[in-house]
Symmetry: C2
Subunit: 381 residues, 2 copies
């Protein structure tokens, strides 16, 4: 459905901070929902009294109107001043009957609007596809987040260098170093830079075999420890995403081989990154590398092992957004910011994942991740 | 619509951390969406391979099933293995045609399910009304968050005590103290306790006249500074919510009077809190107190002034949830956790808000907020 002419509108009803699409268009953060309409590229916000001053100051909307004006009209005519009725009254004044809404538009509102006689269509795919194509300024905001992440992980590397090994576990400052303690250090370092890092992963040993396990308890020496750090900035709302796998103390060949295999696969995939390539070719390069090196993927004793996730995803106002880098993919284009994050996971051995973030440019890419990943850096004596 | 018998199901498709309803039922946090079904009180999750191990370990669901099983069946029969088709295939096996979904269920999924022949109804009001009634364990989790908030604000009070006043602004450690610096202190203190505080408000002077303004720049002496702190716990996901208004240095009568008026209104409202009272009676007590004391509410020069927001709201897995405490309200019941947060805002003078959080018990309430609010504490010399 094309949005053009006088008769159609795009509509979002959401909290500014819960809807990256809404924030993308208004750059206005709210904890509570408000109404946003786009009519012939005019950006209109209907907000309550509590937000109106700030909305007029901070938002990039063309018009910020008090929802109260329509509330009054509805109450005067004996109708309930609900969000649905306010939007309906507004659209009727504009003689609009057809509305395009995001895929995740609340069904309750949609059914209310349909009952009021509107034709409501859920958009398939991204509501604002232009979100996937970052401007240099947006890439810079993502890089700013990434710099904070790298400084925070640098602090952890410093701690691991000063740590000792006792009974197979890492010790620091006279006591065993836990996932929780390291995550707390990372989060404190990040919050000082206005970075909010939820679900930071610091998972060693068996825990690292489950790619989404956040990790807990004492951190093992000699085994891979996965650090997956993906905060967003409180003000700009942009995310970054990096994974590194670190080791403390002497490492067995099986673990170094695992690491080098993942690194090789990642480098092969990255070397392909450029505009006009299908992103699934990057994924295929990872799959092929692992196959060539003899690392098998499949279910064993009811658990998946090997490489069983996608190679990457877009990053921006959401941690996972377009484009995909997996079995199914998309043509990479200038402005895309994608992760390349192959991993290998074998229960009984351990898990390794390495993730960089690339900004696709007109001619190739800029790697937004500068934290080292060579064996000399990640294997900490 | 009642959910009973074999033929009906409740359905949520959402990320664990984006849907408090889903988390309430499964206690399973994910950044990505998964499918949840409730059929005759059997709690069923359909998850991808990446989450299945952790889901089986951590969730409270009765059955955790691999979405892949239905993906395979769909692919084998030439159908797209989309989320909608996976749910459809599952429901067809169970011979279910009627589905109740949350009000904010994504329209795109709902239209897909309807196209597949299902009868999808958006629930009006809370999807799990029992969420509003906190167990003593949940109240304790909220109180744990609140303790962290009080310790963090205690640190700020300590700093304000050690601060000096120069040119009408607060100075600490040889330089002017800003909103940003104080928010950074609060956030670091909180993150150390696994509390994530977004949108913390530290707003002084004119900024405090807009109840949602987060505040920026140098903090004024002699004028009210509003601290509104409402983090959630990373693991338990429960919020707490407290507001205090603090002053540094000698204060004019007009400001002390403003503070005492808000405190009087708040105490009157709190004194009414008990089970079986209409929550709007608490709001009315605030309105009446301000009217009696001569504090008027209305629009002036295009801006609202006086008391122009609700008196409070429920707190739990969301910062704003049932019940409301405002012009329209609900009967308070044991287990409700509500805020009582009257405020007065006059451009040219300043803004004051005071907020406590009450746990309604069988006979009255427990105030979960213990941070002092007497003039002797909030007026820091």
């Amino acid at each position: 459905m094309d949005i053009q002419g006088d008769q159609e509108a795009r509509l979002i009803i959401a909290a500014g901070e819960a809807s990256p699409d809404l924030y993308f268009r208004t750059r206005f953060l709210t904890p509570d929902p408000y109404t946003y309409l786009e009519i012939r590229s005019e950006k209109i916000m209907l907000v309550n009294d509590l937000e109106i001053d700030r909305a007029r100051k901070e938002s990039t909307a063309d018009r910020v109107l008090p929802a109260r004006d329509w509330e009054k009209k509805l109450s005067a005519s004996g109708k309930s001043p609900s969000s649905v009725n306010i939007v309906s009254a507004f659209l009727e004044e504009r003689k609009i009957r057809n509305i395009l809404v995001p895929f995740d538009f609340p069904l309750g509102y949609a059914d209310g609007l349909r009952k009021n006689g509107f034709d409501v269509t859920a958009n398939i795919g991204p509501f604002f596809p232009e979100r996937a194509f970052k401007s240099p300024e947006e890439a810079k905001m993502i890089r700013t987040v990434q710099i904070g992440v790298e400084e925070a992980l640098g602090e952890v590397v410093r701690i691991l260098k000063e740590s000792t090994i006792r009974d197979g576990f890492i010790h620091y400052g006279g006591k065993v170093l836990t996932s929780e303690a390291v995550k707390s250090i990372l989060k404190k370092e990040m919050i000082g830079k206005s970075l909010l890092g939820e679900h930071t992963i610091v998972a060693g040993g068996e825990q690292a075999c489950d790619p989404h396990m956040e990790g807990e308890g004492p951190l093992p020496a000699h085994l891979p420890i996965v650090f997956d750090i993906f905060p967003h900035h409180e003000s700009t709302r942009y995310f970054s995403d990096m994974t590194r796998t670190l080791f403390k103390g002497p490492v067995k060949k099986v673990h170094r081989d695992l690491y080098e295999a993942v690194l090789e696969a990642q480098k092969k995939a990255i070397s392909l990154a450029r505009p006009e390539i299908e992103s699934r070719e990057l994924h295929q390069a990872v799959v092929d590398t692992f196959e060539t090196l003899g690392y098998q993927t499949g279910e064993k004793n009811g658990r998946m092992e090997g490489f069983f996730h996608g190679t990457g995803h877009g990053v921006g106002l959401e941690i996972h957004e377009a484009p995909r880098v997996g079995k199914t993919g998309e043509l990479l284009k200038p402005g895309h910011v994608i992760t390349v994050e192959p991993g290998l996971y074998y229960p009984g051995i351990g898990g390794v994942r390495i993730e960089d973030m690339l900004f696709i440019t007109g001619t190739g890419f800029e790697n937004l991740t500068t934290f080292p990943k060579d064996w000399g850096t990640v294997a900490i004596p």
